[in-house]
Symmetry: C2
Subunit: 377 residues, 2 copies
């Protein structure tokens, strides 16, 4: 194979594929990047045990200015190839691979020769049958991911909880994540043809990587689902993730429908107060802060006999209902508040040891965060 | 003690003192910051086994707007205090310490109480007798440090080489650092009264921290030297460092005075070529690149049978003298080249296994970097 390409454009494509490639891999060949040059363009593939990314540089891409001299395929050491490409001196680079899979990379007066391997040994991407039409706008999908992924478990003790539960049904998508201490749920009306009926669990890590690939310009993303794989198609790039096997716990009845106390606050202001209180709770043995709602006042406090204590009277928009004292992990609260951006948030409480919820004040029931309190003496 | 202060200005002072405070310290009290409030201002002190920093917020500092209600002293947990101050909600903060050394920090509606300790237990700063007048402009001192510190050893096998050798003599300062593979030397004519006669070794780490404290506005820095301490006075801030004990090796005869081959290059251009070549040398077993000067051409190359090879023809300003092939550690070359900034650099060689030098092309003998080549087969 032999081609030349504009380096800056090539690096963009390379960065996307690189996301799927991990230095630590059980399968040696997966530390490499696969290049496949046909008459129509250059296909690059990266993969790890969870995700695979394939991107195509078309000969029609004027920015890339791909010039194909001889088609062929190779697998090159990904990290090293990436570093070389980024440091080359000239605007254009040429890559030529011989029959022993040695790749000569030239740019300006610099000549690199690196040893590649036979692409025959590279695993095939899963084949997904695409009868269904399921499309989401990029910015909506990114929002759904960012709102839910925070509540997914980071621990492998219950692997199913490291995923995001996606239920497509009756023209609606319900996305839920929980680590059993907190839960995040987002509902979404699907547009277009709405026949999709799927109940799947996607690793949160995969969704995180996908969210990073969705750019500012919100193009539509096509979704295809197979038995153990999900495929997201973003323009020239295909993003595959494996699905988690097993049954996701029933979370529908966890969210309380009534409240005896409600507090409405500005999310970023409340976040800063929580950050201050958590400075102290992080130093102490128990990472807990206490919210006291009494006499028309809202007070945040944390206390550790060895270290000291902190108390802050909060400003709020509205406080209604019964007096209440409730303790919680401030880190869960921080994650939850950040997901609301600049908006006003309504906190709804029942009893000191029952989960409480956060929803945007302009609530339409589409997005809810739930936090389980901590028992204190 | 009790005072109020403008938080933004206070944070600036706090950042300076914080440099001397390490979380890991054998002496528990040194993880704290000492505050000492007199009628004239607030003195803050931080210290570790190598350096001590003392800074004074004067009541005359309008930006700090220090308002003293009651004098006194305390030692507070430094990292925690620092984090609290940075996150406080209002422009101003008040600190009040009671007789049990509990400090109440208030700002806006936030109230922190943290446990401090008795300042009596805090070690005293060294006393330095100041008869001499030795002054350097801040930007010159910063330059001298940055030019030499790169060659100091990072390994404790020969502790003396972890320092920078400073010889003040006959109106001149000679600063030298070497890790025995490379050496950096900077000469400086001293201005003003030039009676200083000192031969000292300052830990390179201390000099690095000092360089970071020297701001853009180059104020004069006063230097005072005692038997085992050096003190730099930067405005309101005193920076103390211990000195290394022992005799520094005689480095004067290491620098070759003649050359059989010289190469003049642009420092940043040559640096980028070295960076490319080192991508390959870093992957291989020996971290070595080869420079070939022959037939009026300069070629950089690196080769590793398992990984591949790289070759690049260099652009240069001038090449003179005998043909030569020389191999070296590219990381030493990178550090050396970075110290020359954007300038042209003259490389002078004698034999393939003898040290070679780099000096600015507009040479006046004041600054020289020396690198020992690597023997290759």
């Amino acid at each position: 194979m032999k081609f030349s390409v504009h380096r800056a454009a090539f690096i963009q494509y390379l960065n996307d594929v690189q996301r799927a490639i991990s230095a630590k891999t059980a399968l040696e060949i997966l530390s490499g990047i696969k290049l496949d040059l046909s008459e129509d363009g250059l296909t690059m593939t990266g993969s790890n045990s969870d995700i695979s990314i394939e991107t195509v540089i078309s000969i029609a891409d004027e920015q890339a200015a791909l010039n194909i001299e001889r088609t062929g395929s190779v697998v090159l050491p990904a990290r090293f190839f990436n570093e070389i490409v980024k440091k080359l001196p000239a605007e254009t680079m040429t890559l030529e691979v011989n029959e022993r899979f040695q790749a000569a990379i030239t740019s300006g007066s610099a000549d690199f020769t690196i040893n590649g391997v036979d692409p025959e040994a590279y695993p095939h991407l899963p084949e997904i049958d695409s009868r269904e039409q399921l499309t989401l706008s990029g910015d909506i999908l990114k929002q759904v991911i960012n709102q839910t992924v925070i509540a997914a478990s980071k621990q492998e003790t219950r692997p199913i909880l490291t995923g995001i539960h996606l239920a497509f049904k009756e023209g609606e998508l319900l996305a839920v994540a929980t680590d059993s201490h907190r839960l995040s749920q987002r509902k979404l009306q699907l547009t277009g043809k709405n026949e999709a009926d799927h109940d799947i669990i996607v690793p949160a890590q995969s969704m995180n990587e996908l969210a990073k690939m969705i750019g500012e310009e919100s193009e539509d993303i096509e979704i295809q689902i197979a038995e153990n794989q999900i495929l997201f198609i973003l323009g020239n790039t295909s993003f595959y993730s494996r699905l988690l096997e097993g049954n996701y716990p029933d979370t529908t009845r966890l969210i309380p429908q009534t409240a005896t106390t409600t507090l409405e606050v500005n999310a970023p202001e409340f976040l800063r107060a929580i950050e201050r209180a958590s400075l102290l709770s992080h130093e102490g043995r128990n990472n807990v802060v206490k919210l006291t709602l009494a006499n028309g006042q809202a007070t945040l406090s944390s206390n550790s006999p060895e270290i000291g204590n902190v108390e802050e009277e909060l400003t709020f928009t509205e406080l209604k209902g019964d007096d209440l004292e409730i303790s919680f992990n401030p880190d869960y609260m921080k994650d939850a508040l950040r997901s609301f951006g600049q908006s006003e948030v309504l906190l709804s409480f029942t009893l000191p040891l029952r989960p409480f919820t956060l929803v945007p004040s302009e609530a339409n029931g589409d997005f809810v965060q739930l936090i389980t309190p901590v028992r204190t003496i």
